[in-house]
Subunit: 233 residues, 2 copies
């Protein structure tokens, strides 16, 4: 065999001769998870995956941020995920989950558009700045979006309610119900988001429904309490 | 009686004559809650309080944002909470809870300083942009701080872990444990935050501990599984 053929032969068969387990498939060579945007949000997801020894590829478009992160021992690549060649270099075709944690709204939407067009198999988990950003992502079939400050503000609300004298269970239930109502509102707003007057109307109606939701609740509680008293009298 | 005295007399005694309940005290005239910063974060707290019919005073320093919010039926005052006269006008001395939801770090810290000095009785619930911001607030005895994107990123992490094949309980427990570890790390970092090399060291050690935490866990699981098999064999 010529030297070149020998090298090829080695590359193709040597491993199999010395080790009975099969070659790694290309899919196994690349992380299943890509995290685009490694700021405050993406880093938390990355740290949790690392703790569970789940490999990921992190992309961050800010060079200063990349240098800073590497000083803390992070493995992160300098690259703009809203460019197709970068997504290809990160082996998006072999990944399964795409964490879209870019804070800039336009870059985030551009990235979601690229994935929608070129890598529709990817499951996108998207950070949204606000409602409007979430609507644009939902238009691109992103099924999981979360508003970046929402859950912290809900948690604080729960603590404020408790401090004001509500029981823990009442505070928890209030916030749970508020959130469920807010998700329904999001879906309604999504449907009329391009019509300003309808959007305003939907928002006002939703606020009224919210008040009514808790009023009905208060009435039910009173009724239950009255029945309890009658039963005990 | 002269007309002026009659008016004064009416104001002082008429209500008591026609209604046996006592006058409202000044404390009852003002909301117990002040929300400073009525953006994405403060609005959620405000909407939840309104749903529970708990009065609050909202202050927002961005005029465009104030006009926008009023169109949606919000009651919000145009004012800069990082100025003492504004806090006085909002009757901070009669409030109990102060929701510090200003997104600008410097304005947020200035407001916390004013409250620390002039209204130390207020219970502050503070939104923090990041760790460094949280440290500065903690230095001012703010007992409740929450990083604004933390809880949304934790929730997304949980969903990512589930999508990658972890059981729901494993995903929930992983995130719960990560967060507890992160809170311990915050306290350690706070102590060395002005010494860069110690801060880096603490951060690295904390990342190693985190890995170890989950490794021990995996070993324990294996051991438990082995015992279970022996017991069933």
């Amino acid at each position: 065999m010529s030297p070149l053929l020998l090298v090829l032969h080695d590359a193709m068969f040597k491993k199999k001769e010395s080790d009975s387990r099969p070659f790694d498939t290309p899919e196994e060579l690349y992380p299943k998870v890509i995290i685009a945007g490694f700021g405050r949000f993406g880093q938390i997801v990355g740290r949790i995956l690392r703790a569970k020894k789940i490999a990921f590829t992190a992309l961050e478009a800010n060079q200063t941020q990349v240098d800073f992160l590497r000083r803390f021992g992070n493995q992160v690549f300098y690259g703009d995920a809203s460019r197709l060649e970068m997504l290809r270099a990160a082996h998006a075709e072999n990944a399964e989950v795409f964490v879209l944690a870019i804070d800039d709204v336009e870059a985030s939407v551009r990235t979601a558009e690229l994935i929608h067009k070129h890598f529709p198999h990817l499951k996108i988990f998207a950070r949204a700045r606000n409602r409007q950003h979430a609507f644009r992502l939902m238009d691109l079939d992103v099924r999981y979006t979360i508003r970046e400050t929402l859950v912290s503000s809900l948690e604080m609300s729960e603590k404020v309610l408790e401090t004001l004298g509500l029981s823990k269970s009442n505070a928890v239930e209030t916030v749970r119900r508020f959130r469920a109502h807010d998700e329904v509102t999001m879906a309604k707003q999504q449907a009329v988001k391009d019509d300003e007057s309808k959007f305003l109307q939907t928002t006002r109606e939703s606020a009224e429904q919210l008040l009514h939701l808790f009023e009905t609740d208060a009435a039910e509680n009173l009724e239950r309490e009255a029945k309890r008293r009658v039963a005990n009298s």
